[in-house]
Assembly symmetry: C2
Homo-oligomer: 245 residues x 2
């Protein structure tokens, strides 16, 4: 059987991979991925063979993996976070049509929204949206429409790809849209380098977030009306009414 795994490796630390992901990677002949993630995997599985392609070479990366699987080698395509959420699983199924003899198995992982939420406290305790601010693959008008919809219905929001060298002002633009619907005082959070050595977090208001620069290693959280700060953590109650002692 020719087989390729599409594996969500979580935010970056070995400990945040699932047991299934670790077992599948141990059993692989070759691990394929984006250069940065493969470098992390090399630390954890130094005995393995690795293949990489740079950013924007995702279709080539998929074909690399399928070609290896076609040779009969057990192959893993690794994705940061989850394999599906802004991950490679979709493209693997699309390109997999060219390789009908290769079976695809998707293994989920902890996506950035959840990994970062645990660092901030409990920001995503109610209905939430995940929105990427990257307009590389999505028209900005659609991103804007989704921001408006999410704000109008008071969703919690996790923003992926909030910034890059070419998109320095995108987070400010997004905040301006959210501020049309949400109060300036809404609690927000930023987590940088989730589950890595340089991990850091910051809790601030939506107004402050509007004027804060973040980098591409950040995930940004927008609270809802119920979000509050408890013991320096960002917490959104689910709505349980409980009796205080």
């Amino acid at each position: 059987m020719n087989k390729v795994y599409v594996i969500g490796m979580g935010p970056g630390a070995y400990e945040q991979m699932t047991v299934a992901a670790v077992e599948a990677l141990k059993g692989c002949d070759v691990i394929v991925g984006y250069t940065v993630y493969v470098d992390l995997m090399k630390k954890y599985f130094p005995e393995k063979e690795f293949m990489t392609t740079p950013m924007r070479k995702e279709p080539e990366r998929c074909r690399l993996a399928f070609e290896e699987a076609k040779k009969g080698r057990v192959t893993a395509m690794v994705c940061s976070g989850d394999s599906g959420i802004y991950g490679m699983a979709g493209l693997m199924y699309e390109i997999g049509e060219e390789y009908p003899e290769v079976e695809i198995e998707v293994l989920p992982g902890v996506t950035a929204a959840m990994g970062g939420a645990a660092v901030l406290g409990a920001p995503l305790g109610h209905d939430c949206c995940l929105i990427s601010l990257s307009d590389l693959l999505t028209p900005w008008e659609l991103i804007e429409k989704r921001l408006r919809a999410a704000a109008q219905a008071d969703f919690l929001i996790a923003l992926y790809n909030p910034s890059s060298k070419k998109r320095k002002d995108y987070l400010a633009r997004a905040c301006d849209i959210l501020l049309e619907y949400k109060e300036e005082s809404i609690i927000c959070g930023i987590v940088r380098n989730i589950a890595r050595e340089e991990e850091s977090m910051n809790i601030l208001t939506l107004k402050e977030l509007r004027n804060t620069e973040v980098d591409m290693f950040s995930t940004v959280y927008i609270g809802n009306k119920m979000t509050k700060i408890i013991k320096h953590k960002m917490v959104t109650p689910r709505g349980y009414r409980y009796d205080r002692k």
Copy 2:
């Protein structure tokens, strides 16, 4: 140091827990949780001490955990899926205000939306919303508003708690709202008992979903305009334009 972990155990299988979750559970003196999840944990950690409270006794469950931690016992509160997404992390911080001497550490896990997505293929490959249809803790009007917002902006949607004994028609009501904005032919998916022995999945149109009964062990997925079926899987492309060979 008095410590309580809030642990996302993933969809249910041992293999879908993170390495960090397994390590924390191994190091615990006592594991607290909802009866059904604790029964799963008993299989994986038979030597541990367990404490449970039934559904709707969440505040009592939190206090049980804090009281154990206060005695100096390392304590774990387990949640199915992620610890934050419709999990106990928020309530633990709220009730934790009564126990300032106890440190809370949140460990993320694979939430049902992601675990089930991997079974269906790659339904959540683009911006998505997680919405719970339970109106136990949220007014139905707000749920309806969020469904409308999500549909209008063509979000992918994962529906949690799509049904229960008392809410048999809620999924149909939700579909009726979505059908005001989305085509009848939109691809949808249902996954039952994610990562458990009886796991099953089903791919169907939104119109068909409207007339399908699901149970409380199901997670429901609504596609966007780009969602399609490839090799009997539900796939939403991220938008990568790739050249076919």
